[in-house]
């Protein structure tokens, strides 16, 4: 005698802007009629901050994790206490994504040390002896695109042994010259990062050229703050000893959920960077870093 509770949002991509209404149905599937003491929906938005073990001690990281920041928490009743008939019952609902007061709703973001998540939970309270039923589904909050235009911010770059920093023995490096440009470092999150790169010359054959997308998460805490950079994804744009002098496209799609518009708050920051990584055949690894600013327009 199992009862299945489910939430189905009308919108297939589950993406909502602030002030929009989440419409859908609560689905109750059961062979027999179900007695309950009310069905309700709870909308919750939370920022979870985690201190990395690098910044603080392992134990501290475990215990001293920063308290989650609640962004939204509202509740509506879907059904008054009563009985749901056997079979499949769909109860439609409409639930506005509306914040109380002057709180800011950040975009959904799944990171390592920072997580911003929005959920819709359906609870069915049931009489004694029967377990309460609960079902949670995540929905995605995305900021209203800003009207303003992004200033084009193209960047030209040249990578050669002379331009590198953090080199111990510059003389032992093989000679190479890579030129290129990024069309913008102020990136629109829905559009790919683009640019071009030309291997003008290289003494040692090139093994691979990659684009590394990095998140830089900063969490404020009692002892100061922790700043950690971790890889989101690595996209290879050249494999093997590519043709010299021929421009190779730089192209990377920003993954959904794992990126959001660059965020700076009092408690935490989420920023992004991109590394152009050139791996030479002798396993020399050359990295050029580009801070990015993501926005949604």
């Amino acid at each position: 005698m199992s009862v299945i509770l489910d939430i189905r949002l009308k919108r297939a991509n589950k993406v909502y802007h602030e002030a929009e209404v989440l419409a859908g149905v609560v689905v109750i599937t059961s062979k027999e009629a179900v007695q309950h003491q009310g069905i309700s929906l709870t909308m919750e938005g939370l920022v979870n901050l985690q201190l990395s073990s690098k910044s603080v001690g392992v134990f501290e990281a475990f215990y001293n994790s920063v308290k989650p920041i609640q962004l939204i928490n509202s509740n509506i009743e879907v059904a008054k206490p009563g009985k749901v008939p056997g079979g499949k019952t769909e109860i439609p609902f409409e639930f506005p994504l509306q914040v109380k007061g002057n709180k800011v709703l950040y975009e959904t973001y799944h990171g390592v040390f920072v997580n911003i998540q929005y959920t819709l939970r359906c609870d069915m309270r049931r009489p004694l002896l029967a377990k309460d039923l609960s079902k949670t589904c995540e929905f995605i909050h995305v900021l209203q695109p800003q009207k303003s235009k992004v200033q084009p911010s193209p960047v030209d770059f040249t990578i050669s042994p002379e331009t590198l920093q953090n080199v111990k023995e510059r003389n032992s490096l093989p000679k190479f010259l890579v030129r290129g440009h990024l069309d913008a470092t102020n990136c629109v999150i829905t559009q790919p990062l683009t640019g071009e790169l030309v291997v003008e010359s290289s003494e040692v054959a090139i093994k691979s050229i990659e684009l590394q997308l990095v998140r830089v998460e900063t969490c404020g805490c009692a002892e100061g703050y922790a700043r950690d950079a971790t890889e989101i994804q690595n996209i290879q744009i050249a494999e093997g000893d590519v043709c010299h002098g021929l421009p190779i496209p730089i192209y990377m799609v920003f993954p959904r959920l794992f990126t959001c518009p660059t965020l700076e708050t009092t408690n935490f920051n989420v920023e992004f960077e991109m590394n152009v990584v050139i791996v030479l055949h002798d396993d020399h690894l050359i990295t050029e870093n580009f801070p990015l600013k993501l926005c949604r327009v």
Binding site: A205, I206, Q233, A238, E239, C243, I248, M252, P255
Partner: protein, 866 residues
């Protein structure tokens, strides 16, 4: 004084000693050899260089494509005959049938990939051991595990487990080619199973791992076949994803291929978008490229422009592939899916081709060379590995690209013409024909095709080479619009006339040019303007003049017969043909040294017959007259008396048809002057024409004079009497014992009559009649206001009497004096002429036999105009 003229004159022709006369007034003559030199003959520089072997045998056409590796019976068995491939092929063809209706799809004229597949698999084989390395885990855990650490037994066990669970890694080593094929087929099967059991992630992982195998170029000679096998899997995947998303589109189901983005619901779109996001995050370049290409068609679910934006991006992405062989096959795959999904997007196909060219030098990079050394593969063998991919890319680029195609071909043909031989040009022509024939594409490309022709003609002046190109005439056949066709024919003929140095009998040239000329001739219709006809005729004549069969005169004549039938609408050409035949008769005479054998006599008679039956078909009366006369002269020269007689008689008989006015260069002009000219030259010919035995004396002269008498001359015209005056010198010449000129081997009247008094008397009688007629005419002029004409005619007759009459005869002498006076009576006579005439007479009178002239001179007064 006019009454004086009425005296009946008795004609006495002056006896002439032509030889002595000639010697007296002759300049010092330098003998020239007629055969070698003629002032009007064009200077011909003979190029004595031996012609280079233009017809080199077309050898070495066999390419190095044929692989020496014997066909493996097992691998050949695998070609599409296994149940799985059959199934796939069946569904593909079913899909294809639906697509046929769509205009955007490639047609039957595009050789499909399925046709290439088997060929590649059987051609690129190996006996070396292959390996498959599959790693189903997440990238980060990947460690280069030393495979040797795992014993053979364990490995077999792992294989037996044969599942591709998360994080599992499989490395299959030492596979024979058959094993490899089998394994790949198993993977294909696993993919389908994973998909069927809703394990989409696993399916994607299989595809990614398979695509990754394409970055591995060990056992490089097998690479093309590997490409075929793995792209089969990608095809399966692409189809599965597409069908899945399509099935998510809610009812009513949109049309499989003609739906628009609006017909796709959100769920389907979201699923599709998810696939693209997932693929965009694939770490490695080659799998990311191949997998996205495999689901290219799915862009249709998202937006209208998706495919046309994606193709250039993926094309550019291939530049990141360092290994040129891997890159070229990636391009081939992209072109393939591009052609399947959006064949109209030519730009990306072209871009692929140009990028291929731009990065071609990679083949010589150290990386590649080292690899070849290690694998012990020779460069020529290595290069053949490229051929299926490049061939495929070119096929895609060239498909239904007549516009682009012909513009390129137009340029390439010049390059080919300049640097290669006819064989290569022929190949280019064959290719042009192949491309421009479907859908009559040539109709839109006449300017370019004409330019191609122009370029060929610029570089190929040797017509035997030109026409020995197999594809030249088929190429010409593409010019189907009449005006263009004629233009092309004209340009060919212009080049021929300009550059053909020696007459030719090459049957290839003759047949081809006859065809070309016939095309020009057949374009003539009632609306063709005269100028056009003239220029066409000029070109055709140029051709006819260049045809020579040497000593094979019969052949030449039969060519003229054929040409007459072919060019019957162009009078100028017919005239040329008659001239050619006449020339042929004269040439025959020259070759025979003037002594015809029975055979050549018959031949020249045949020539005469040709002219005789051809001339009447001409509309221009003067052309007919002159040709009758000319042909008559030729017949006479060739001792064809009756033929000559017939020609001349025919000329006389059509004289009455000469209209009073004719059109000269578009203007109506009196025909009188032309007619007089003709009659004069006709008269001079008559001297040598012997009288017909069955006709009376001077039959032709009389006939001519009768015609002149009956001809309706213009009113107030003196033409008739001028003819009479002109006839007098002829008659005088005829009465001589030895004629001024004769034709070798033809007896003229001098021999026939031998100065018979009756004959001379007959001539005199005729002269007298003529003089009587002239005098009568002078009288009528005196009565009217025609005194000026009277003077002129009187003077003309005086001159004839002076030159040809025997003025010892008193009456004749008196008549001459009277005529002199008459001509000077009204002062219209030109004094200078008179003075010069008197001086001449004075000079003549110094000769003993002409001393009587000095008496007459006294009686001729030079009246002043007063």
């Amino acid at each position: 004084m006019a009454t004086n003229l009425c005296i009946a004159v008795k004609w006495h022709a002056r006896v002439r000693k032509y030889g002595a006369e000639l010697q007296r007034c002759q300049l010092e003559a330098t003998p020239v050899e007629q055969g070698d030199y003629h002032p009007l003959k064009p200077i011909i520089v003979t190029d004595s260089r031996s012609r280079r072997g233009g017809r080199k045998g077309s050898t070495s056409s066999s390419s190095s494509s044929s692989s020496s590796v014997a066909m493996d019976p097992l691998s050949s068995m695998m070609e599409g005959t296994d149940p799985l491939s059959l199934f796939a092929a069946a569904s593909a063809s079913e899909l294809g049938r639906k697509q046929r209706e769509n205009e955007d799809e490639v047609g039957a004229d595009f050789e499909p990939w399925s046709a290439k597949r088997g060929e590649i698999l059987s051609r690129f084989t190996t006996t070396e051991k292959l390996s498959i390395n599959l790693f189903m885990g997440s990238e980060k855990n990947k460690a280069s595990s030393p495979s040797s650490a795992v014993s053979e037994k364990v490995r077999t066990r792992l294989e037996e487990l044969d599942d591709l669970e998360e994080g599992s890694q499989r490395e299959l080593l030492n596979l024979s080619q058959q094993d490899y094929v089998k394994r790949i087929e198993e993977l294909n099967q696993s993919l389908k199973e994973a998909w069927a059991s809703d394990q989409k992630v696993k399916a994607l992982k299989i595809v990614i791992q398979c695509s990754k195998l394409l970055s591995d170029t060990s056992v490089i000679q097998f690479y093309p076949s590997k490409f075929v096998l793995i792209t089969d899997i990608l095809d399966t995947f692409g189809r599965l994803v597409y069908e899945r998303i399509w099935s998510m589109c809610s009812d009513p189901r949109p049309q499989p291929d003609s739906f628009s983005v609006e017909d796709v619901n959100d769920t389907a779109k979201e699923t599709c978008l998810n696939w693209f996001f997932k693929i965009a995050s694939i770490r490695e370049l080659i799998p990311r490229l191949y997998v996205e290409a495999a689901i290219l068609k799915c862009n249709r679910f998202l937006n209208k422009t998706g495919i046309q934006e994606t193709l250039p991006r993926l094309t550019a992405m291939i530049r990141g592939i360092g290994d040129p062989l891997v890159a070229v096959y990636a391009r081939a795959y992209l072109c393939r899916v591009g052609m399947e999904v959006a064949p109209h997007l030519k730009d990306s196909l072209n871009k692929n081709f140009f990028d291929l060219l731009a990065s071609f030098r990679q083949i010589h990079s150290d990386t590649v060379q080292n690899q070849l050394v290690i694998q012990r593969v020779e460069i020529p063998v290595y290069l053949t590995l490229y051929s299926p991919a490049i061939h495929w890319i070119l096929q895609c680029v060239a498909y239904r690209a007549p516009d682009d195609y012909i513009n390129c071909a137009e340029i390439w043909v010049e390059f080919t013409c300049r640097h290669f031989t006819k064989r290569e040009v022929n190949t280019v022509l064959a290719d042009i024909i192949k491309h421009m024939t479907p859908d009559r594409a040539f109709e839109d490309a006449y300017p370019q095709l004409q330019s191609v022709m122009k370029k060929i003609l610029t570089y190929f002046h040797n017509f035997s080479v030109l026409f020995s190109m197999e594809k030249f005439l088929p190429f010409m056949d593409m010019f189907q619009k009449d005006s263009v066709r004629v233009e092309v024919c004209k340009s060919i003929m212009e080049v021929f006339i300009k550059h053909q140095q020696e007459p030719t009998r090459d049957p290839v040239i003759l047949n081809a040019l006859l065809h070309v000329c016939k095309t020009m001739h057949d374009s003539v219709n009632a609306l063709t303007v005269e100028d056009e006809k003239r220029s066409l005729a000029l070109l055709i004549n140029g051709f006819i003049r260049m045809v020579s069969f040497g000593r094979d005169f019969e052949q030449q004549l039969s060519f003229c017969v054929e040409a007459r039938a072919t060019f019957c609408n162009l009078e100028t050409v017919i005239i040329q043909l008659i001239h050619t035949v006449n020339q042929l008769a004269m040439e025959t005479k020259r070759v025979m040294g003037g002594n015809h054998s029975r055979k050549t006599a018959a031949f020249v008679r045949a020539c005469a017959a040709y002219s005789f039956i051809t001339i009447p078909s001409l509309t221009s009366i003067f052309s007919r007259l002159h040709l009758y006369l000319l042909s008559g002269q030729v017949a006479l020269a060739n001792q064809c008396l009756s033929q000559a007689d017939a020609f001349l008689k025919a000329a006389v008989s059509i004289l009455p048809e000469v209209p009073r006015t004719i059109s000269v260069e578009g203007k109506q002009r009196s025909s009188e002057a032309f007619l007089l000219d003709f009659i004069n030259s006709f008269l001079s010919t008559l001297l040598v024409v012997p009288d017909h035995p069955e006709q009376g004396v001077l039959y032709l002269v009389r006939g001519l004079l009768n015609m002149v008498q009956d001809y309706t001359w213009e009113d107030n015209s003196d033409a008739k009497v001028r003819v009479y005056i002109s006839a007098l010198p002829l008659l005088a010449a005829m009465s001589q014992e030895n004629y001024l000129y004769t034709i070798p081997k033809v007896d003229s009247n001098e021999t026939l009559y031998g100065g018979d008094p009756k004959f001379v008397a007959e001539i005199s009688r005729l002269c007298e009649t003529l003089i009587g007629q002239v005098l009568d005419h002078l009288k009528t002029l005196g009565r009217e206001e025609g005194v000026r004409r009277q003077g002129s005619i009187a003077f003309a007759l005086f001159s004839v009497l002076l030159a040809h009459g025997d003025l010892r005869n008193n009456k004749l002498n008196q008549l001459a004096v009277n005529l002199w006076n008459l001509s000077h009576k009204n002062g219209y006579c030109e004094t200078r002429t008179s003075v010069r005439t008197l001086e001449h007479i004075k000079q003549q009178a110094q000769q003993p036999e002409l001393s009587h002239l000095s008496d007459m001179l006294l009686r001729l007064s030079l009246q002043s105009r007063a």
